[in-house]
């Protein structure tokens, strides 16, 4: 908490606001990316007389459900980490929760790889048809974002160890958290729209 005192409150407030506005715009942009994908999904689904088309069977829900649990628990664990970190908790108290978040994030990726292996084992390839294309393209694009977000979470480890929470660290933790929760929400949408219904 050392540097905060040296900044005047206008700059503190300004940097907090700038960071939050920018992150909002970032999330709007990413939402539009996924919204376009969902638009494509809706377009194919509405124009197809039966779904999944051409007698394709639905995807087994086992691995997607595991993924859902992993990402929801990781979001929860991040919330606990953030509360403790911004509350001024020491590295000893905060780091395990960040570690748990990263572990669950990796767990999510593990279930995704298992899903892909399982699907291709059943002859369900990206090139088999548009339903397969949709399942793979959605999970690939989402997983690519998850990888970026896990790297960002790992980037928080040295921040946590530094044990000093200025406005820079506060913004970093808040923004990475928003991105992580955002990906969780997108996964939930994908889970219900693509796998469940």
């Amino acid at each position: 908490m050392s540097r905060v005192a040296t900044l005047d409150s206008a700059e503190l407030e300004g940097r907090r606001l700038a960071s939050s506005i920018a992150m909002t715009v970032v999330l709007v942009s990413f939402s539009m990316l996924f919204a376009s994908l969902f638009l494509g999904y809706a377009y194919y689904r509405i124009t197809s007389p039966v779904w999944p088309p051409m007698g394709m069977s639905k995807v087994d829900l086992y691995f997607p459900t595991l993924s859902t649990f992993a990402i929801l628990l990781s979001s929860l664990s991040f919330v606990i980490f953030k509360t403790k970190y911004l509350g001024g908790g020491s590295a000893k108290k905060t780091l395990p929760w960040l570690g748990l978040t990263i572990f669950l994030g990796l767990g999510f990726m593990f279930t995704q790889f298992s899903l892909w292996a399982d699907l291709s084992g059943k002859g369900f390839y990206a090139s088999s048809g548009v339903f397969q294309s949709l399942v793979y393209a959605f999970t690939w694009i989402h997983a690519a974002h998850i990888v970026m977000a896990i790297l960002a979470l790992v980037w928080l480890v040295p921040t946590t160890l530094k044990n000093e929470c200025t406005i820079t660290e506060e913004n970093k933790v808040n923004n990475i958290g928003k991105f992580w929760h955002f990906l969780g929400v997108i996964w939930l949408l994908m889970y219900f729209i693509i796998f469940v219904i």
């Binding site: 407030e13 300004g14 700038a18 715009v25 376009s36 197809s48 990206a126 548009v130």
Partner: protein, 577 residues
């Protein structure tokens, strides 16, 4: 107000920190300017090659033809022709106009005009330029891969752009390059939006911002919202080409489900129509300001201009279907899109009338920036009016995919935006580089460009109306088009005139930047916006002391002024007229 003062960092000293890894918005602006001018040159040469093939089919392209196409003796081959119009469109839109208007002048003008020391996120600003360079590198590589560059038009419609239509890797490189450029522009947009909201100088409300900043800000908002849509379309296209997914494969419906090429058109135009406004809004803003500055009058209805630009921004997101009237959309949809499209005429007419109102009874100074701005008023008027024929379903069914479309979008997107860019370059040159461009050569540049440009694009309206389709390698194999050879030749000569005229500009620009006389007057155009209150070229971190804004940007020609000037700076207390 969410204002805060940024810290002053020491001035960079080494070449690398100053010109390559620079955080300074002014340097990044200049980098984008050079990048865009190079793009203009490359895209321009491609345009001349396209025109050459149309006017003189079967004749060797002069000078460089022999080196480029030795196997045909210098004649442009048909597949190369398709690559040329594809890359011409791509380069001009994404690698010339976008970097100049949004990259260069967005970066340069926004902080200076709102009284900030830099962008809100300087590091992200630098990365945005580096990504733009990476994207350009990918695009240039695509020109040299086996089977050649992308050849499916700048719209990259499937099935032309799937593996069936374009088996080479050029199209994949194209899609990846556009995706990377999309990330770069989105990063810029995040920066612009945040900067305008948080870093306006104390006292500057939204309606005290110059209209240039309004235009750039609205553009940034559209960019942040709609570039990801193109990104999604591009990603799916890359998946189709590389991983064998079936999103856009025609015929996939019959064999394996519901793959559909038309989906790409939807996604493309959901982005593509706002993109038109992404390009034109900054030019509108700049022109609204420059018309006022050089008429020595307040901008007529400046608030209405800003608000009508805002309503156009909103409406532009709802009209994309007018690009797809011939794709068997339901009549309910086409009529809805037609009505919404026509609605855009209302705000457009408002700010167009405001432009004329600004000029009315002004004491107009015909300096080069003003000439180019008046040029925008003229060519945008023509472009807007021809748009009505294309926005109407009944006439569009006939005109679709003809040269009328080409003429129309060149008038709006190319001519207006190009003139806007030139106006901006001539106007902000002293603040950017501390040098003035030569006025006489500037005026010659304007008039010859105006002549050539109208020859090209007006001619295109005629041949389009006569039924000549775009993207044909040799239209004159069709008997009903053979009588159009003379007018095509005329268009090509106009294009050559316009192309050669740009040499005047390049020489003028390069000479001024490297060998020009320093401009000693920090305010040569005698206007009151914030960037003209500081020395030229703008110093490191712009403002020693952050200015306090007390009046709007267009306080000119007030007879009650006692300062001996006919304008007042935005930092001065408003004198009632």
């Amino acid at each position: 107000m969410a204002f805060y003062e940024q810290h002053i960092h020491p001035k960079p000293t080494t070449f690398i920190s100053k010109y390559i890894f620079s955080f300074d918005h002014k340097v990044i602006g200049k980098q984008f300017l050079w990048y865009g001018i190079l793009g203009l040159g490359l895209g321009g040469i491609m345009a001349l090659m396209i025109r050459w093939a149309l006017a003189f089919p079967g004749e060797a392209f002069p000078l460089i033809g022999q080196f480029m196409f030795p196997e045909t003796g210098g004649v442009i081959p048909p597949d190369t022709y398709a690559m040329l119009f594809t890359m011409h469109g791509t380069i001009m839109i994404f690698y010339a106009i976008t970097p100049i208007l949004i990259g260069a002048f967005g970066n340069f003008c926004i902080p200076l005009m709102i009284g900030a020391r830099d962008m809100a996120f300087p590091l992200m600003n630098m990365l945005s330029f580096h990504l733009a360079v990476l994207s350009a590198a990918l695009l240039v590589i695509s020109l040299f891969v086996p089977l050649g560059a992308a050849a499916s038009g700048w719209t990259a419609y499937p099935t032309l752009s799937t593996l069936i239509g374009s088996p080479g890797t050029g199209q994949t490189f194209w899609a990846v390059a556009i995706f990377v450029l999309g990330i770069s522009s989105t990063m810029g947009a995040i920066n612009y939006i945040t900067t305008v909201i948080t870093l306006r100088a104390p006292g500057m409300g939204y309606f005290d911002m110059p209209l240039t900043v309004w235009g750039l800000w609205l553009t940034a908002i559209l960019n942040a919202i709609f570039l990801p849509v193109l990104g999604a379309g591009g990603l799916l296209l890359v998946f189709d080409r590389v991983f064998g997914t079936q999103f856009f494969l025609a015929g996939a419906a019959a064999t394996s489900g519901t793959g559909d090429p038309v989906l790409f058109q939807h996604v493309f135009w959901i982005f593509g129509h706002p993109e038109v406004y992404i390009l034109i809004l900054p030019a509108w803003g700049m022109v609204s300001d420059i018309l006022s500055f050089f008429s020595r009058k307040p901008a007529f209805g400046a608030k209405a201009t800003a608000l009508s630009m805002t309503s156009i921004t909103i409406l532009s997101t709802l009209v994309y279907g007018h690009h797809m009237y011939t794709t068997q959309l339901s009549p309910l949809l086409t009529q809805t899109f037609m009505t919404l499209t026509m609605t855009i005429s209302i705000p457009s007419a408002i700010f167009f009338a405001n432009w004329l109102g600004t000029l009315w009874k002004g004491s107009i100074r015909f300096d080069t920036p003003m000439l180019f701005s008046l040029g925008v008023v003229f060519v945008f008027g023509l472009g807007g009016l021809t748009g009505l024929y294309l926005g109407t379903v009944t006439t569009d069914l006939y005109l679709h995919d003809t040269y009328f479309v080409v003429g129309h979008f060149h008038y709006t997107m190319a001519a207006s935006v190009l003139f806007g860019s030139f106006a901006a370059i001539y106007f902000w040159m002293p603040k950017m580089f501390g040098k003035m461009l030569n006025e006489t050569w500037g005026k010659i540049h304007f008039w010859l460009t105006m002549l050539g440009l109208n020859g090209v694009f007006f001619g295109m309206l005629f041949i389009g109306y006569a039924g000549m389709h775009r993207r044909l390698y040799d239209p004159f194999v069709y008997e009903f088009l053979q009588h159009l050879v003379p007018i095509n030749t005329f268009i090509t000569w106009s294009a050559i005139l316009m192309g050669l005229t740009q040499i005047i500009f390049v020489v003028n620009f390069v000479h001024a930047v490297f060998w020009g006389k320093d401009e000693t007057d920090p305010n040569p155009w005698k206007v009151g916006t914030l960037e003209w209150t500081i020395p030229s070229p703008a110093p490191n971190y712009n403002f020693d002391k952050i200015p306090v804004v007390k009046c709007g940007p267009h306080e000119l020609g007030n007879p009650n002024l006692t300062t001996g000037r006919d304008f007042q700076y935005q930092t001065e207390e408003l004198v009632e007229a």
